[in-house]
């Protein structure tokens, strides 16, 4: 085992060695002849992409493969049953409602789904009587469908049970592996005399290195899948079956929605069990990325400081502003560090905290952000005024949509069409409904049409960069 935590002098030495090694490497890189430079960069680029590519493309590991297979088939069956349930026609229970209109009480017979709209129209509405119709199973040979749905559900439940037993068989194995791993780790800890804070431990006191972490996560996933996902699914589907059993189900909808939710659970369980051998290292990779990336902030700081420094030195116009920049920069950074690293509740810490949280951050910084953002309110007015002219067909379309949506959102607009009743098909011409329709149907579709193009373009560009096929400004340069 090469990567062992160290402490004391040896740690210092190791770090020093790493730094020296790094400097040496950098020196060697400066000596690389020009013709070898591009290939090196191409190789590095490809390798770093390769990790994430494989992590995504390789399916989950072999141990949990059988479970996933069973779950997949169960999911498939449940979805098939779903389609059958969808096809059952249900006559909505008719409601006899009663409400006060113009001083006198009115009694009416309405379909169930009209109730909400009627409430919006008339305010207080009392349901006097609800007659639950049996779902009509005549159309699309519904009886056969229900029968088949029940059969498939039964098969699915059987699958789920198998999956559960499979998981139960798996868990002790993984546990054993975990124990071995943590034993190894403990032994190492003893051998290298590691102190407590040098070891990451979990609540059971096992030492967690990369491998044990992965195993522990695997165990938790198995437990979660078995108890949180599969068990409830079995229960629900069973009850749904029995409900469907006697063909007098009043609310097929509820069964449908419940079943649908459970299907999602199953597919979720499947995905939680699908770690492959690279997945545990994803976190490490992103950490490395973040750390190395954040070394680059110096570039920004130096850039800004040199720019404003020049302005101050040469007393250019507005050098006072550059000075203000410097003051703000140092004040914020300094106060931030002081309030974090001075020991708690010491005078300096309290003062710097007051300056930081009270004045600089919550006082100035946040207000500046919020106000800059709120400027958009003004610019949106002038932009609308200028752009929405009846110049071209396109401009007209834009203007029309914008006007409709704006009116539909505010009370005044809603008041304009408040004459139209909520009930029935007429109700869909109320401005707020029109607004809702525009946003959810044409707008959604258009956005999606654009999104696909953008997605494909991005993927293609990523591919070009990954394989260093990209051309243009930065990539053409001879090194």
């Amino acid at each position: 085992m090469f990567f062992v935590p160290l402490r004391g002098y040896s740690l210092g030495l190791a770090i020093g060695a790493c730094v020296v090694l790094g400097v040496l490497l950098l020196f060697l890189l400066t000596q690389v002849p020009h013709r070898y430079r591009k290939p090196i960069i191409i190789g590095v680029t490809f390798l770093f992409g390769w990790f994430y590519f494989l992590e995504f493309m390789i399916p989950g590991d072999r141990a949990t493969a059988p479970v996933r297979g069973i779950l997949r088939s169960a999911e498939h069956k449940l979805r098939l049953a779903q389609t059958d349930l969808e096809a059952i026609t249900v006559i909505k229970g008719q409601l006899t409602v009663q409400y006060v209109e113009g001083g006198r009480t009115v009694k009416r017979l309405i379909p169930k789904d009209e109730l909400k709209n009627l409430e919006l129209d008339k305010g207080e509405v009392k349901v006097v009587h609800e007659d639950k119709d049996r779902p009509r199973l005549g159309e699309h040979d519904g009886v056969r469908r229900v029968m088949r749905a029940r059969e498939i559900m039964a098969a699915a439940v059987a699958d789920l049970r198998r999956a559960k037993s499979e998981i139960e068989r798996l868990r002790p194995q993984v546990q054993r592996q975990l124990d071995q791993e943590s034993k190894k780790a403990e032994a190492e800890a003893k051998r290298y005399k590691l102190t407590k804070e040098m070891l990451a431990r979990d609540e059971q006191g096992n030492i967690l290195n990369q491998r044990t972490k992965a195993l522990r996560k695997r165990i938790d996933d198995l437990k979660d899948a078995a108890q949180k996902k599969i068990d409830p699914t079995i229960a629900t589907i069973e009850s749904a079956r029995s409900e469907l059993g006697n063909l007098s189900t009043a609310d097929v909808e509820s069964i449908r929605s419940v079943a649908a939710a459970k299907v999602e659970d199953v597919s979720l369980a499947r995905s939680t069990l699908s770690d492959n051998f690279l997945t545990p290292y994803k976190e490490t990779a992103s950490n490395i990325n973040a750390v190395i990336g954040s070394f680059a902030i110096g570039l920004g700081v130096f850039g800004l400081m040199s720019l404003h420094g020049k302005t101050i030195r040469r007393r250019r116009r507005g050098w006072i502003n550059s000075l203000a920049f410097y003051v703000a920069l140092f004040a914020m950074a300094l106060v931030g560090f002081l309030q974090k690293y001075l020991q708690q509740k010491s005078g300096g810490q309290i003062l710097s905290d007051a300056l930081y949280s009270g004045i600089l951050f919550n006082g100035a910084y946040i207000s500046l952000q919020a106000t800059m953002f709120s400027l958009v309110a003004f610019y949106i007015v002038s932009a609308a005024y200028r752009a929405f002219r009846v110049k071209s067909r396109e401009a007209v379309l834009m203007m029309g949509a914008a006007l409709l949506v704006m009116l539909g959102l505010v009370p005044i607009g809603q008041w304009m069409t408040s004459g139209i009743t909520h009930v029935g098909w007429l109700g869909s011409f109320r401005l707020e409904r029109v607004q809702d329709w525009i946003m959810t149907v044409p707008n959604m579709a258009a956005q999606r049409g654009m999104a696909f193009g953008i997605g494909v373009g991005g993927l293609a560009m990523a591919l070009r960069i990954w394989l260093s096929l990209e051309r243009g400004a930065y990539f053409d340069k001879q090194l």
Partner: protein, 287 residues
């Protein structure tokens, strides 16, 4: 003619001034009267609050409501009116409540508002309401509250005194776990309500009222349909509707008014612009 053609190029500063006027004036003077209809999800929230135990309730079913403040200056325009509407309702019915801030900047914003309302409805800090100190961590805090509220939340905001000091804070009398919450009001710009639902709402059977910003509203309805939340105030308009249910004309109602006026202003400007555009076209063609 000259004026009409000027409509083609109104100076932007004048438009900005107009906008400032039509937004600020209705905010300060309630001049806009518009019928705000009370939608079901808001009505549900109102009725839920109507059912809460008041501070004179017998000891055994004495509980406090909690307003979780997750908003900062960025979204306070939408979120603070929601909080205000509910606070007024709590005060009016004498429901004891505490504000529990999770956003550092929001802590002061929420505290100032509630303090102001308490003064005008002469309610007493520590007796009718209390402000807990800022909680930097979210999930762990919720989980810990399930077992012990005073220790988790530590101190209050005004005096920075321990919450266990029930002489100073009679409101905290007998409040031990999250089970002693009569209601949780989640005022938030981000997707934080699922945590409340799973840690407090479902496990401790505490009703939750959800106050999201406009963009978060659509997914809020899912929670409503699943009965995971008892009611919802969708955005600023939701707050206005709640005030309508209260029969008050508070900030939200006025804000809704200035929303309307600002939209109308934009529409009018667009129309004027087009008139001016046509006029200048005609002028060009004639000259």
């Amino acid at each position: 003619m000259g004026f009409l053609t000027y409509l083609d190029r109104i100076d932007r500063r004048i438009m900005y001034l107009l906008l400032a006027v039509v937004v600020i004036v209705p905010l300060i003077f309630p001049i806009i009267r518009q019928k705000t209809e009370i939608t079901p999800e808001v009505m549900k929230a109102y009725e839920a609050v109507e059912k809460l135990p008041t501070k004179d309730a017998p000891r055994k079913d004495y509980k406090i409501a909690v307003i979780s403040v997750f908003f900062g200056p960025g979204t306070m325009a939408e979120n603070r009116p929601q909080m205000e509407a509910l606070v007024r309702h709590f005060f009016r019915r004498g429901v004891p409540f505490g504000i529990l801030p999770f956003d550092q900047a929001g802590t002061t914003l929420a505290y100032n508002k509630v303090d102001q309302i308490a003064k005008e409805m002469n309610k007493e800090y520590g007796k009718d309401w209390i402000a807990f100190s800022w909680q930097p961590i979210f999930d762990q805090t919720l989980q810990a509250m399930a077992t012990n509220v005073p220790r988790t939340l530590g101190r209050d905001k005004r005096y920075n005194a321990p919450l266990t000091d029930t002489k100073r804070f009679p409101i905290m009398e007998g409040i031990k776990t999250a089970g002693d919450f009569s209601m949780v009001v989640e005022v938030t710009p981000s997707g934080t309500v699922p945590a409340w639902i799973s840690y407090i709402g479902q496990t401790k059977k505490v009703p939750i009222v959800y106050c999201p910003t406009g963009v978060m509203v659509p997914e809020g309805y899912n929670f409503l349909d699943a009965h995971q939340i008892v009611g919802m105030l969708p955005g600023l308009m939701g707050a206005a509707r709640y005030e309508a249910a209260l029969g008050e004309k508070g900030f939200a109602t006025r804000a809704a008014g200035s929303l309307s006026t600002s939209h109308v202003l934009i529409i009018v400007l667009i129309i004027l612009g087009n008139i001016g555009y046509f006029m200048s076209l005609r002028q060009r063609s004639s000259s």
